[in-house]
Symmetry: C2
Subunit: 125 residues, 2 copies
DNA sequence: ACCTTCTTGACAACACCATTGTCAGGGTTC
DNA sequence: GAACCCTGACAATGGTGTTGTCAAGAAGGT
């Protein structure tokens, strides 16, 4: 195993237009998430945003919670705060938990975020 | 010690107008919380809502999260869901947690719900 | 009996939020 | 030089939270 393997998910690679396409959102929306403190993408030395796979996963969670569950950004901020305080991925307890046979049905029916991209308008120009 | 001591907090005692006064909300609001599945007050044999002290505490949390933190009802539903799944009072981790000296300052400055009543319009007629 | 408070259901107003979209002026990358 | 990024602002649209009211009926206390 190579030593660059463990940090692969946190390596900043996507510019905002690519990231927006990956999560099926408007670039404007991603900037708003950042203004709200929900994400913190890396920057190039010349101030260009670069999103990592972990950023994408986080955004996918935000999208899922807002669109599928109707949670607003304040609620998501609190969720993330709780995850930090507790040092656990409490959100994953909602799906794929160990509640016997109900777990599989739950996870399948609830459209768990899987970082899949869709076709949308690419940019804000 | 009497045997009715342990369940005192869950004993239904307040009708909706009293409960609304206790949490400084409109009776209408409490019915909405119930429609949304956030609370489930007991009923008399003749269908009158009766709120326990634990119900009041729960509502006080809802009020705090919506007004002070801007969380919407969908977010609160998810929070309560998580508490059930994890079997822990994760919300209390936000305040009065054991993070050394910061705990006291946090708890004091954040207006922790304490079930205190204020003067408000009593009824919806 | 009377009057108050409770019930459900509906409708509405008001303010706020999430998301997308656009425009401007300027920097970066290829 | 064209296409993309930056910040900041403004706006439209649709949705939500809360309070408030109206109606018709049941329950409770004095």
């Amino acid at each position: 195993m190579s030593e660059a393997h463990l940090k692969k998910d946190t390596r900043p690679v996507y510019v905002i237009s690519v990231a927006a396409t990956l999560v099926a959102a408007h670039p404007r929306t991603l900037r708003i998430y950042e203004d709200e403190g929900l994400i913190c993408p890396a920057r190039t030395p010349t101030n260009i945003r670069l999103y990592s796979d972990e950023d994408i996963r986080r955004i996918t969670w935000i999208r899922h919670l807002t669109r599928e569950r109707g949670v607003n950004l304040a609620g998501i901020r609190l969720l993330f705060e709780l995850e930090e305080r507790l040092g656990a991925r409490i959100l994953e307890a909602l799906y794929a938990e160990g509640t016997r046979d109900r777990a599989a049905k739950q996870a399948a029916a609830a459209a768990v975020p899987t970082t899949e991209g869709a076709g949308a308008d690419p940019d804000d120009r």
